[in-house]
């Protein structure tokens, strides 16, 4: 039987990021998918070796515009461990607030994009409109809508005053109400259920076997979340539930995200109401780190984010290795497409919440080994250690 190959991307009107899937079809049925990446590879890890510890805070947050705060958190908390600096509790709370706001907007944007992918344009527009409220809150606290850049070694760069706190608390009510509404839409809407239920099912043991992370993992019923398993920042003090669902399909993954966004609203509210006193902004910033090696991890909106930082002393890191969640999910998750129909491919891809800029950065490793070519999925999943 003849197999047809269809390229999807890299310039694609729905996905705002360059990735190419090479989909192999037998009739309507997908027999295989290859992921072609590298369009977004910027060489961040190599660049970081020639920049100072402080400048790198801004470089690493620019690995990904959507999960920038959590990249900063993972990098900064790692370097703080190296330097022996402990951020004050208030700074930890403010960092947590920023990370949770980021999670809300990240989950909203992917649910909106999912709506667009299945052709539900009005829902996309509405969700994007309500997401603007969250962006406004980020701007209010950090001074910038996208790149918060609030972390600094030993604290945060801006404090939250009472006025800001009250505004955020007030606006969160609306966010909460809207997320609850969208959750109901995703749960009950006939069209959405038709497209998402049973699309790209990942079973419990498969999710573990292919080391998937984040909502993709939790959508298959595995209870794993760095915030709960290995608390950092203020997560040990803020109560929250780890959301899981057992269905394992695209629908479950989206509902996990909406429920998590709701949890995040409660967490931001709790953190603001219980904001500890004391300073948050450090007076002096350390600029050099002693020799050493640390691991640091954090839960990005898309799953576990992992930093491995090596210092040989002085102003610059010797080596920083970043392992981002999307790379794992997109590349290892390709088995989920098999047997699906062509029309399901974008739905399944979107349900992994593909963050291509993160993914591409991981390919740094691949290219620096001289493997500069179309990276075939099979090869990648075979040597998962890269």
């Amino acid at each position: 039987m003849s197999v047809i190959e269809i390229p999807v991307g890299p310039q694609h009107p729905a996905l705002h990021e360059p990735i190419m899937l090479r989909v192999r079809l037998d009739g309507e049925e997908v027999v295989g998918v290859d992921v072609v990446t590298g369009y977004n590879h910027r060489g961040v890890e190599k660049l970081s070796e020639s920049r100072s510890w402080v400048r790198n805070i801004y470089l690493f947050s620019r690995i990904c515009g959507i999960c920038n705060t959590v990249h900063q958190q993972a990098y900064v908390q790692g370097v703080e461990k190296l330097m022996g600096v402990e951020p004050p509790p208030r700074a930890n709370y403010i960092r947590t607030i920023m990370m949770e706001l980021e999670r809300i907007h990240s989950h909203m944007i992917i649910c909106a994009i999912m709506a667009e992918v299945i052709g539900f344009d009005s829902l996309f527009m509405l969700m994007m409109r309500d997401r603007e409220v969250v962006m406004g809150l980020k701007e209010l606290i950090a001074g910038n809508r996208v790149h918060a850049d609030i972390h600094i070694f030993g604290g945060v760069k801006r404090d939250i005053d009472d006025k800001i706190r009250d505004t955020v608390l007030r606006k969160l009510e609306r966010v909460e109400e809207r997320i609850k509404y969208y959750r109901r839409v995703f749960e009950e809407d006939f069209t959405i259920r038709k497209r998402l239920v049973d699309a790209g099912v990942i079973k419990y043991h498969e999710a573990i076997e292919y080391s998937l992370v984040g909502p993709t993992l939790r959508g298959s019923g595995v209870k794993s979340d760095v915030r709960a398993d290995d608390p950092y920042a203020a997560y040990a003090e803020i109560p929250f539930n780890v959301i899981t669902r057992d269905e394992g399909d695209s629908w479950a993954r989206m509902l996990v995200r909406l429920d998590e966004a709701l949890e995040s609203v409660y967490m931001v509210r709790y953190a603001l109401e219980h904001l500890p006193g004391g300073p948050a902004v450090p007076k002096n910033i350390k600029r050099a780190a002693p020799p050493g090696e640390v691991f640091s991890r954090a839960e990005a909106p898309r799953g576990e984010l992992f930093y491995h930082i090596i210092s040989k002393g002085g102003q610059n890191p010797y080596r920083v290795k970043v392992r981002t969640p999307s790379f794992n999910n997109i590349v290892n998750g390709v088995f989920a497409y098999r047997g699906a129909r062509l029309a399901d491919v974008p739905v399944i891809l979107t349900s992994f919440d593909p963050c291509i800029s993160c993914t591409e950065r991981v390919l740094v490793v691949d290219e620096s080994r001289g493997v500069k070519r179309y990276v075939r999925l099979k090869e990648l999943s075979r040597n998962q250690g890269w």
């Binding site: 890299p10 360059p18 977004n40 910027r42 060489g43 620019r62 515009g65 959507i66 409109r129 800029s357």
Partner: protein, 139 residues
């Protein structure tokens, strides 16, 4: 000549050449109801052959550079390019990396630069308006 042709409803095409996503979500935000440029007929074109203005974000990686060139060539004339964000202007934080060419204008002619990291949606829309003024609309 050209100005007349895109005078009413310029359609955009957006290409991410290796951005961190920050600029991309802001371009996306600029096109959604909060700002709603669609009431002026400004919207994303489904493919480069329908587009009048290309919005380039990102530091232009070497791999994306050839794609960028190809997309530009596929657009019908008159065509314009807007570079959005520090990365698309000069490489931004990624300038000097072994894998970027640092700046869209190294690959295609750029007509308008919108600075910021990322620029706010208002700034992106302002860039589009300024471009239209520059090419003669109502100017």
């Amino acid at each position: 000549m050209g100005e007349k042709l895109i005078r009413y409803s310029p359609w955009l095409i957006h290409f991410n050449t290796g951005a961190c996503n920050g600029c991309d979500i802001e371009v996306l935000a600029a096109l959604t109801p909060f700002f709603d440029p669609e009431r002026m007929g400004v919207k994303l074109a489904p493919n480069p052959r329908h587009a009048d203005i290309m919005v380039v974000t990102g530091a232009v990686t070497k791999k994306a550079a050839s794609r960028l060139k190809r997309l530009y060539e596929q657009m019908p004339s008159p065509k314009y390019v807007i570079a959005v964000g520090a990365c698309a202007i000069s490489g931004g934080v990624f300038a000097g990396s072994y894998s970027t060419v640092s700046g869209a204008d190294k690959v295609v002619p750029v007509d308008m630069y919108v600075p910021g990291c990322p620029p706010k949606p208002e700034a992106i829309l302002d860039g589009i308006v300024k471009l239209l003024l520059k090419v003669g609309r109502g100017g």
